[in-house]
């Protein structure tokens, strides 16, 4: 119902959308629910790209499956919508084939951390030069609100109807301990800071990671009595604690508890290809042709 209405309304709007250069307007309206944080994350990402004034031709977005997995489909960039959990290894192949390209994985928590968890930690370990953006909505939203490895303990989901009794992952800790060179977390309320975080992550060489806290407004928030979109914003406002440089071991998210946000890691480290090139140069000397130096 509401989708149709939006189409009609949008059809009459003649003014250019401010993000038109970066969005596939022929695919709007998008599938996300009103008050969903994914749209905010996309807007912040697009704004970051604008601010950086980088060549959009040189940016690719890879997504997996799920609500956030649809991001690739709305960005007017070379964009790849892959399979569940596999956006990261697809991006690894792409980033190695096109070393000068900014390859961004934009996906959800279930996709990146559950089914794709192994790919996530190994790609961070290798410090492959990609940016991973994870919209953490605390559940599997597209399939109807099942428990995820990020669901806070005690929270209710459609497959933990009596409450979740297992420990969730702390994503900044996972990324940092696996080797990421940049780790930040913001909520969907912190649009300006989130935009800056994206811009910083995009400028990093190596595996950069930004977690966007955006509990699913349709399935998680309601089920767990966080109210609607506006109430969610108020929740973020009242409960976020900005702590730059916080020890990632101390940023666990408890049920309806404070959320520590900020930039936790920002270090320099040779990338996967840097290490490979250096290693081979040591072994083969001048005979080794540095990989990725010339692009076409």
């Amino acid at each position: 119902m509401s989708t149709v209405e939006i189409v009609e309304v949008r059809g009459k709007v003649e003014k250019e959308h401010p993000m038109e250069k970066l969005l596939r307007m022929d695919r709007i309206p998008h599938i996300w629910c009103p008050t969903c944080g994914i749209g905010t994350a996309v807007k912040a990402f697009a704004t970051a790209l604008e601010q950086l004034e980088i060549d959009y031709n040189n940016v690719a977005v890879v997504s997996g499956i799920g609500c956030t997995g649809r991001v690739a489909g709305y960005m007017k960039l070379d964009s790849f919508h892959t399979t569940h959990g596999r956006a990261v290894p697809f991006a690894v192949g792409l980033a190695i084939a096109k070393p000068k390209m900014k390859v961004v994985v934009f996906s959800g928590d279930g996709d990146l951390i559950s089914i794709g968890g192994n790919h996530f930690i190994h790609t961070a370990r290798r410090n492959v030069d990609i940016t991973v953006i994870c919209v953490n909505n605390f559940i599997y939203a597209m399939t109807g609100g099942q428990v995820a490895p990020t669901t806070p303990i005690l929270a209710n989901s459609s497959t933990t109807p009596y409450g979740t009794f297992e420990y969730p992952f702390n994503l900044p800790l996972l990324a940092a301990s696996s080797g990421a060179v940049y780790v930040a977390r913001w909520t969907a309320l912190h649009v300006r800071r989130l935009t800056n975080a994206f811009a910083e992550a995009l400028q990093k060489r190596g595996f950069s990671f930004v977690e966007v806290i955006a509990p699913c407004s349709t399935l998680y928030a309601r089920r767990n009595k966080l109210g609607d979109g506006l109430n969610l914003m108020k929740f973020y406002h009242d409960n976020s604690i900005i702590k730059h440089g916080a020890d990632p071991r101390e940023v666990d998210i408890g049920f309806q508890e404070k959320i520590v946000v900020g930039k936790f890691v920002d270090i320099e480290k040779p990338t996967y290809l840097d290490c490979l090139n250096d290693g081979y140069k040591r072994v083969f000397g001048d005979a080794y042709k540095v990989y990725g130096e010339e692009d076409e």
Binding site: R24, D26, R27, Y56, N57, N58, A60, V62, A72, G73, K76, L77, D78, S79, F80, H81, T82, T83, G85, R86, V88, P89, F90, A91, V92, G93, L94, A95, I96, A97, K98, K100, M101, N118, H119, H122, L273, L276, Y280, V283, F284, A287, Y288, K289, Y291
Partner: protein, 391 residues
């Protein structure tokens, strides 16, 4: 028919000369000669020598070898690299092949050129890691979910492992499809003379890129041969591709009508070009009472049995399936009414055999010489089957 231009292999990639190599090393050299510059793989017996040789050779030819965290990652990494414009391959066996199936399907759906070498071992499950089998043939055909067509090549020797790996790359670029090289432990670990020709004798199909401008281009508008041309990444095409059912724009459309169009063309681009893809070798078909079908190592092992039967006056014809998929349906159907029997010899309990039976459609007898794997057939068993077939 769309005329496909070819280019010569780069001499820097080709190890021209006579070598004594096993099938796995020969496959690796075939990939390198074909211009493969990205290999993502995970170690698994009996395919590992391919990865090992590539890892040793790639730094010298400007390629990147990466040992991925698992087979799902390997398959996706080669898809990503291929979209990045780099020829890519992986190798695996048994359990790893099962793990690659999901994203082999993504390769089919996105129409991604790349090559997957499966050095078949005995199964199911962990089965016989160090011994041969040919029991993944139907998995190659149907292993990923959904309807699609595949191309699978079966080398019978190290020499052919080299040649068919190059051929696999050419078919994959030609038809924009991941192509299987379905070898086995016996061929993979068998060492024989491999003659690698000069680069000027190796023709390669280059990436079929669009010549349209970004404004005019959509990813899935096919050419006359039903194959759409690829966009170069990073050049402003800002294309979108998805594993979801999609329209000509590459945009997801979830309905029956677009599904029909999308799937139909994925199948037709192989079915309608099957005549150009199918590669079979026939021998003594004229006047044959019985025609023996085989592929890969099995087609060598059956020879003593055929000689023995011939000495007794039995007229035995042979078809060696170099491509098992697409299956040479038309030919098998046509011959069925002219011969007394087909004898299918394969290292499994009946896989390609059922295709033979289906195409024979009762017009001639069909006999299977099965084998669970672990070693090759005893030629004597094949001989007995031929005798049985002409009874």
């Amino acid at each position: 028919m769309t005329k496909i231009k070819t280019v010569k292999a780069d001499p820097r990639d080709v190890l021209t000369g006579e070598h004594y190599l096993d099938g796995n090393h020969a496959s690796a050299e075939g990939g390198i000669a074909a211009g493969c510059k990205f290999f993502g793989g995970y170690p698994i017996t009996p395919s590992t020598e391919i990865a090992e040789r590539i890892s040793q050779r790639f730094p010298k030819v400007g390629g990147i070898f990466i040992q991925m965290e698992d087979e799902m990652a390997s398959m996706n990494a080669i898809l990503g690299a291929s979209w990045g414009g780099v020829k890519s391959m992986t190798c695996t066996s048994g359990p790893g092949f099962s793990l690659m199936m999901e994203n082999f399907g993504l390769g089919i759906m996105l129409e991604t050129p790349c090559v997957l070498v499966n050095v078949q071992r005995g199964g199911p499950s962990t089965g016989l890691p160090t011994l041969p089998g040919q029991a993944d043939m139907m998995q190659a055909r149907w292993g990923s979910h959904g309807d699609y067509e595949v191309i699978a090549l079966c080398p019978d020797s190290p020499q052919e492992s080299f040649e068919l790996t190059i051929h696999a790359f050419n078919l994959s670029e030609r038809y924009r499809i991941p192509v299987f090289v379905m070898t086995d432990e016996c061929v993979g670990h068998m060492t024989e003379k491999v003659v690698i020709p000069g680069a000027e004798e190796i023709d390669l199909v280059p990436r079929r890129y669009t010549d349209k401008s970004p404004e005019e281009y959509w990813p899935y508008i096919p050419e006359k041969d039903l194959v759409p041309l690829m966009p170069p990444v990073g050049k402003g095409y800002k294309f979108h591709i998805t594993g979801l059912t999609h329209d000509y724009r590459g945009y997801p459309v979830i309905n029956a009508e677009v599904q029909e169009k999308c799937v139909r063309r994925l199948m037709d681009k192989i079915i309608k070009n099957a005549k150009d893809i199918i590669w079979i070798e026939e021998k003594d078909i004229e006047g044959a009472e019985v025609v023996l079908l085989s592929y890969g190592i099995t087609s060598r092992v059956v020879q003593p049995a055929i000689e023995k039967a011939k000495k007794e006056g039995i007229k035995v014809g042979q078809i060696r399936l170099v491509t098992v998929w697409p299956f040479p349906e038309e030919r098998v159907r046509e011959l069925a009414s002219k011969i007394g029997a087909y004898v299918m010899v394969e290292m499994n309990y009946g896989q390609v055999y059922y295709e033979v039976e289906r195409c024979a459609a009762g017009k001639c007898k069909t006999v299977l010489v099965p084998h669970a794997g672990g070693t090759v057939h005893n030629p004597e068993d094949v001989y007995v089957a031929i005798k049985e077939a002409v009874k």
